[in-house]
Each structure stands twice: as structure tokens, then as C-alpha cells.
Symmetry: C2
Subunit: 124 residues, 2 copies
DNA sequence: CCCTAACGGTTACAGCCGTAATTTGACGTG
DNA sequence: CACGTCAAATTACGGCTGTAACCGTTAGGG
């Protein structure tokens, strides 16, 4: 349960978005984008198996890999860590920082506003 | 210019918040919190020197360490990567995710709202 | 001035990460 | 049934990270 590393996360993304895949399919999907050889992808799959982030089941002679860790869990872990470490666990400072460094499009702003409004009514 | 690691970041935080410090002061500040011995802190300081994240100047016989990398730069690097990797570079999904997993206090919500309002008027 | 204690820098070492080659094991074919 | 083939797992290896001991140099007390 160590922690999914940067390289490993690309394998997970493939499985999260495309569902259970064979090794071959994973290689096809993520290999070219990352410029990884087949061997590298295999290694990452096995590391993820060892970390219990994936399970392999054997179907029609081939191994099929499926995520055990959900993307939701992963995203939560990553972003919570960052929030806590850098912004005192509060989201407003993060948004402020983001706004200072990347222009928020009017569209993004309005989506944020809607979201906030929703949270407000939800909450009381 | 490699990249400031997790352990190293605690040293940086001490310097960012307290200003230039001697090794002794860094040890006092961050050692107990992280349960690190003096030697460990020394190592981290030297790694940061090698990475050009810190500079040391010699004042009154003692070495004073000061950050070269600003906290702003560091925070930007860290959070930009996460936003891009996990939320397609957009902040609204992050806020939504956060809201789903940690209750936003009414106070946080109102701070967000104020922030958004400010961004809106700024923008046009 | 010299000696020693403290300080700062160097070395150490195991585990993880990125990248990959090599070996093992199962499966079909002659 | 032996053999080759192809996929899966094991091994490799250099660099970084976390954790720390050790050593050379410098500064202050005698």
C-alpha cells in the first residue's frame, strides 16, 4: 500500500479510463505517450501488483489487470496531501494562488460561482 | 535545480517563515517536529545547497542559510503539476472534489465567495 | 599561539523510482 | 512428448530519498 508513484500513475490512468486491460493493451495505450518500452510498462504493472493497487485475473490465457485502488481514492490522497502541506488544509488560499498564476477564464469563474452557490444551499 | 523533496521541504518551510537561520536554529525548529536528529537536518541542508535551493553565507563565524527558491515558486511548481495531472488543469473540479471529501465550513465557503467576487470585478 | 570542542561538510547505506534486459513458465504444434 | 514461442515474473542498475554517522576545519579559551 506504499504509494502510487508518478510513472505508475500513468498505468493506473489507463485502467481507470479504459477499464480492465491486458498487458498488451496497456503497453499500446501508455507506451507511446510516455515513450516507454514494453519492458518498462511490465515492470510498472508488477510494482502496482505488489503494492496491491492492481489485481490480475487470468481470462482466456491472458492476464487482465484491473484497478483495486479507485481513482477517487488516489485523487483524494494526492490532493489532500498537497492542500495540507502547502495551504494549511484550506482551499481558498489555493484558489487565490491559482488565480494569481493562471488567468481564470470567465467561464471557469462562473463555474466556480455556481459551485459555491450550490455548496451554500446544500449546507444549511 | 532538481526538485525539493518532501523531507527537504520542511527545511525550506522553516526558512520561508522564519527568515535566514543558522543550522542550529533550523535543527531547533524542524528537528523535534519531524523527529529528526541533528545529522539528518545537516544532510538535508546540504542537499538543498547542492540543489541551489539555499545559499549559505558566513556571518559572525556561523553559517546563515537563506532560501534562493521562493515559496511562491515552490508552491506553484507543486500545485500546478497536481492540477494538471489530476483535474485537467482546471480548478473548479478540484474544489468540487474537495467539497465532496471534506466538509467546507461556512467560513471557508464565504471566503471562497468573496474571492470569486473579487476575481469577477478584477476581470472585466 | 595551541588545543580542543563545536560546526559544517562528506561519506554511508538501505529502500524506492525510472528504465530495462533476462529468465521462467505455460501453451500450442510437430 | 519435446520444442519453440510468447507472455509474465524476476533480476539489474544507476539515481534520488530518508535517515544518519563520521571527519576535517575553524573559532574561542587557556
Amino acid at each position: 500500500m506504499s504509494k502510487i508513484s508518478g510513472a505508475e500513475s500513468h498505468i493506473m490512468e489507463a485502467l481507470w479510463t479504459r477499464g480492465p486491460l491486458t498487458a498488451e493493451e496497456i503497453v499500446q495505450t501508455v507506451g507511446p505517450a510516455q515513450e516507454w518500452g514494453e519492458a518498462t510498462v511490465k515492470t510498472l504493472i508488477n510494482r502496482l501488483l505488489k503494492k496491491k493497487a492492481l489485481a490480475s485475473e487470468r481470462a482466456a490465457g491472458r492476464a487482465l489487470y484491473r484497478p483495486i485502488v479507485s481513482r477517487e481514492e488516489y485523487v483524494t490522497g494526492e490532493s489532500q496531501g498537497l492542500l495540507d502541506r502547502l495551504f494549511g488544509g484550506q482551499i481558498a488560499p489555493l484558489v487565490a494562488h491559482y488565480a494569481r498564476h493562471r488567468a481564470l477564464s470567465p467561464d471557469e469563474i462562473s463555474r466556480l460561482k455556481d459551485l459555491i452557490a450550490e455548496l451554500e444551499t446544500d449546507d444549511e
